[in-house]
């Protein structure tokens, strides 16, 4: 049943997981697991939506906890320090950056849906304007005394970006900067929570996700949790910044790969702290990141690739605490077998691991 007539793994996974989640819903004991499943369903839906999206409509964006160099990574790709970067959390709302082929290289246009007016001006001033927008939103958030969630707020900036490593023949689309997403892991801090929700909403619309971590914060639980709960099934490209801080003998990419259980080929280590310049190593890193993004966009919608991704997400879900509560759940084996039949070798290995882990935990 492989090859031409293999079932659509995403459709299959979508209904199976939805069914799982709906069965669990009525039982409060499974609330955590249910949430994880729902997140996995959201990721599968995201993968499905990505299909057939026109090249120019594609969104490539960063995702990760606060202070993981997300904006810096995008600045590196843009070739200009456009997105404001600071030691304290900076990005409060989603910022879209588009390529404007007819714009003058030193001008920008800005559309601020968060309440401001459309602007245009000198590119060198764009960063300052974005900073203003961020501080305004931050202030509103701290001062707001109602609990009502805000609507999506986003700012769009477009320019020619002459030095950009992405806006060339290879990649068309929009770059998206997002706030820190750690608020989605649960917090009492209202601002963190609002930013997390905005980050998640923005990430769900991406077609290529760059998951950002820091090499000096390897093994931080929040990073692993964000990865596992929100985007493992999307198999994001992992961008590990602060490569210049790495002092151990082991290859940093291999360490990241081991930790997040992803192939080392999906990890790019860059010195993104300053967001610009860098030596030969940095140049090679940017080159490899751009290559990965291009490959990522090209692979969207391939059945075996999709199935592998879903299982990868499931594999993650099973390693969490939630598993303890899965004892009572029965697996509709037939569906999983069908899913398996649509996998490539890599995916089968993931599935094998998943089931073995499940059985081990059950036996304990």
């Amino acid at each position: 049943m492989e090859g031409r007539h293999a079932p659509d793994p995403l459709a299959l996974a979508h209904v199976t997981l939805t069914d799982f989640a709906s069965r669990l819903q009525s039982d409060p004991a499974h609330a955590d697991l249910c949430r994880s499943l729902e997140s996995l369903v959201a990721q599968v839906a995201q993968l499905r939506r990505s299909r057939g999206v026109h090249a120019a409509e594609r969104r490539i964006g960063v995702f990760g906890a606060s202070k993981r160099g997300k904006s810096s990574v995008l600045n590196t790709l843009l070739g200009v320090p456009l997105l404001p970067v600071m030691k304290t959390p900076m990005t409060a709302i989603e910022i879209e950056v588009r390529h404007d082929a007819v714009a003058s290289p030193d001008r920008y246009r800005l559309l601020d849906s968060a309440g401001g007016m459309p602007e245009q001006g000198d590119l060198a001033h764009a960063s300052g304007f974005l900073r203003l927008v961020a501080s305004r939103v931050g202030k509103q958030e701290t001062e707001a005394d109602d609990q009502t969630p805000r609507g999506r707020e986003r700012v769009s900036v477009s320019s020619f970006f002459a030095k950009s490593a992405v806006f060339n023949k290879r990649i068309a689309g929009t770059l998206v900067d997002t706030p820190g997403a750690d608020g989605t892991l649960g917090t009492n801090d209202r601002k963190l929570l609002a930013e997390g929700q905005r980050a998640l909403a923005a990430m769900r619309e991406l077609h290529a996700v760059l998951f950002c971590i820091r090499l000096d914060m390897l093994q931080c639980a929040d990073d692993a949790k964000l990865f596992a709960t929100h985007c493992a099934a999307l198999r994001p490209i992992v961008v590990a910044s602060y490569a210049d801080q790495w002092s151990e003998a082991r290859d940093p990419a291999a360490c990241v790969a081991d930790w997040l259980r992803i192939p080392a080929s999906r990890v790019v280590c860059i010195d993104a702290r300053t967001g610009r310049g860098g030596g030969e190593r940095q140049g090679a890193a940017i080159e490899s990141l751009v290559g990965l993004i291009a490959a990522e966009l090209a692979s969207a919608g391939r059945a075996t690739e999709d199935a592998t991704r879903v299982l990868h997400g499931l594999d993650y879900l099973l390693t969490g605490e939630a598993l303890e509560r899965m004892r009572k759940i029965r697996w509709p084996r037939t569906t999983w077998e069908a899913l398996r039949s649509s996998l490539n070798e890599d995916g089968r290995a993931v599935m094998q691991r998943t089931f073995e882990r499940f059985q081990r935990r059950l036996a304990r």
Binding site: H5, D19, S22, S66, T88, D189, A224, R330, T334
Partner: protein
């Protein structure tokens, strides 16, 4: 002042031990253990400084500098690279040997002494992955000049590290400390966990804390004020005041240990400032008094809360014990009558449920049998509307889509209907069972000793509800219909492979049944086994799948037949026909579906009945016990209760003056 308080402390310890003894007598071993632990920690009172901070904040580095800077016994400390458990550093008088003790979760009162070299295999993730050795804490006693002989430094496991075990332990440790040093990395000023730490501190009575900002050497001057401002703002947001933020560069300080200009290095790196601040806190009598007072107040409050509850329940028990025999007997008789009534209501609810379920099963069986034919007819009609069979076969993708769509729609509608029906039936049954078990148990007032038992008796009754609820959950598996419908459309697509001599049905069967069998006759019984042999939930899913598979089979047969008539491949037609006949016999046969859905039904009924019976037995047993006591079979009950009442009152009497002697609490920063 401190001496007075220490006397009060010892009195409180004794009182707590007696409370624990009382709790043991009342068969509350967990509570008793907790109280004893509390008494022990009060008796062994030391001033505790908690070092809080996420991973990679330079916590261990800092502790090494703090504890090792002024003497040469750095080694014991430096072997702790990553803390996976709580590590306590207890300062003891100079001259005492350094000892390491490990406390496990099984028995927190006893410890094992280990060598310094063994710390690694208990305190690190490498040596003790996932804390498989169940270590609760490690206590290192040594001569640490900073700590003197009465302070303890508590190193919490790195919160926010990937291992959840660590975070849990850190939260526990938080409640055991008198003063906190919150370590914040200048490169990540206050992340999610640190904000939560601040909130936790703000909710405690002891709110003293010092913010130590590490990795300041990585901070550019332009960012410094923004970072400091953020920390101050966030503290203010939770109502705390960060009076001083001590900026550190601990790494540099550690690198320079042993150097002659260590003093200067410490001054430059902020270490000296932190040490001074900690010394001030450790040596300050008023801070220690405050801390001790808070702890005493907490302990006294807990003890008196417990005693209040105990007294209340004793009084309730006494109320029962002092009831007249006639009263209790009458009450018992009434309850028995009510139980009987409940039982008959329950029985009739069960039988109503059973018959409705049966008719639902029949309807489902009948309509799924008809489904294949209906879809077949629809597809045929569609084919007729096209320009002949051969023409539409060429447009095979159109045909595929048609069949997939129709099959999906038909099956999903049918199963949706069945699912809704089943859910409704269960909800009704649940409601009726709830009515039946709604016996006025509260009419019998019960006290603490009896409460547990009665609660145990009621629990199974309540569980009837949840058992039925769980069955409801299982039933939503009929919601797997969506998956089945989808699977069907896939299978139908697969059926297009019929032009090869392998046989599409065989493949479709194998695919749906999840077996690798290539022959339909092998695959079909395999699917049946899944349906009958598996547990309830799987069974329901399997029923749906079976039904779906048959419909797919029928449709595939039809397609095959159409293709075959034009291409005359007799062998394929034979296999296909044989397979579908076989399948219909096995799958849609009324026995199969009703067998599986019937299993679900019987299981629900059986389970709820069992629970109902258990509850009745428990409850009656309890009634008999009370009755026996009242009838005088246990004349000592009342006396025993009176005696306990007296003990509790005596303890309350002792605690009251102790509590009144404690100074009033006050929070605020150091």
């Amino acid at each position: 002042m401190l001496e007075d308080m220490n006397r009060t402390r010892l009195e409180l310890c004794d009182a707590l031990q007696e409370v624990a003894a009382l709790q043991e007598k009342s068969k509350q071993p967990t509570l008793a253990a907790e109280t004893r632990k509390r008494a022990e920690s009060l008796r062994d009172h030391r001033f505790r400084i908690g070092i809080l901070g996420g991973m990679k904040r330079g916590k261990s580095t800092l502790i090494n500098v703090l504890l090792g800077s002024a003497n040469d016994t750095l080694a014991p400390v430096s072997v702790i690279p990553a803390t996976g458990v709580i590590t306590e550093f207890e300062g003891v008088d100079a001259g005492s040997p350094t000892t390491v003790e490990v406390f496990t979760r099984e028995d927190t009162s006893r410890s094992t002494t280990i060598g310094l070299d063994d710390i690694r295999s208990y305190a690190t993730e490498e040596g003790n992955p996932g804390n498989e050795k169940r270590v609760e804490r490690i206590r290192i006693r040594g001569n640490f000049p900073l700590l003197g002989s009465s302070a303890t430094l508590v190193d919490t496991p790195g919160n926010g590290s990937i291992f959840e075990e660590h975070s849990l332990a850190a939260t526990q440790a938080l409640s055991m400390c008198d003063v906190y040093v919150l370590l914040v990395s200048a490169t990540i000023p206050l992340d999610r966990m640190e904000l939560d730490y601040l909130r936790q501190i703000s909710e405690r009575e002891r709110r003293q804390f010092v913010v130590a900002l590490t990795k300041c050497d990585e901070l550019e001057a332009s960012d410094r004020s923004a970072v400091l401002q953020r920390i101050r703002n966030e503290c203010r947001n939770v109502g705390l005041e960060a009076r001083e933020i001590i900026e550190l560069s601990a790494k540099e300080a550690l690198k320079s240990s042993g150097r002659s200009d260590i003093e200067q290095v410490h001054r430059r790196t902020g270490i000296k400032r932190l040490v001074e601040e900690m010394e001030r806190i450790i040596r300050s009598e008023s801070i220690r008094q405050q801390a001790l007072a808070t702890r005493l107040r907490e302990a006294a409050l807990d003890a008196s809360r417990y005693l209040d509850r105990a007294l209340e329940s004793i009084h309730q028990d006494l109320a029962i014990a002092s009831k007249s025999v006639d009263e209790v007997v009458a009450q018992r008789a009434e309850l028995v009558v009510q139980f009987k009534k409940a039982q008959s209501e329950f029985a009739s609810a069960s039988s109503r449920f059973k018959s409705k379920w049966n008719s639902m099963m029949q309807q489902f069986a009948a309509s799924s049998k008809g489904l294949g034919g209906r879809v077949e007819a629809e597809v045929e009609e569609w084919l007729d509307a096209q320009s002949g069979v051969a023409g539409s076969w060429k447009a095979s993708s159109g045909l595929r889509a048609q069949i997939a769509r129709r099959l999906g729609a038909a099956l999903s509608m049918e199963s949706q209907r069945t699912q809704e029906k089943a859910e409704k039936l269960l909800a009704d049954f649940n409601a009726e069972a709830a009515d039946a078990r709604d016996i006025p148990m509260a009419s019998l007032r019960v006290g603490s000793d009896t409460q547990d038992k009665v609660a145990g008796g009621v629990a199974p009754l309540v569980a009837v509800g949840s058992a039925v609820g769980a069955a409801g959950t299982i039933l939503t598996q009929i919601g797997a219909v969506q998956a089945a419908a989808l699977a069907l459309s896939q299978a139908t697509a697969a059926a297009q492979v019929v032009t090869t001599s392998q046989g599409a049905l065989a493949a479709a069967w194998a695919w749906l049944a999840g077996t690798s069998a290539t022959s339909a006759t092998v695959a079909a019984p395999a699917a049946v086994t899944v349906a009958t042999g598996a547990l309830i939930s799987t069974a329901v899913t399997a029923v749906i799948y079976s039904g779906g598979a048959v419909i797919a089979g029928v449709a595939a047969t039809k397609i095959a037949a159409m293709v075959i008539t034009s291409r005359a491949k007799g062998r394929v037609a034979e296999i296909v026909e044989e397979a579908s006949e076989d399948a219909i016999k096995h799958m849609v046969g009324e026995d199969r579906i009703s067998g599986s859905l019937g299993e679900v039904r019987d299981r629900i009924l059986e389970e709820s009945k069992q629970r109902f019976d258990e509850a009745r037995e428990d409850h009656e047993g309890r009634l008999a016990e009370i009755e026996d006591a009242v009838r005088g079979k246990d004349p000592a009950l009342e006396a025993r209760l009176r005696e306990r009442e007296q003990t509790v009152e005596e303890l309350v009497g002792r605690l009251m003056p102790i509590s009144s002697r404690l100074p009033a609490g006050s929070g605020g920063a150091v």
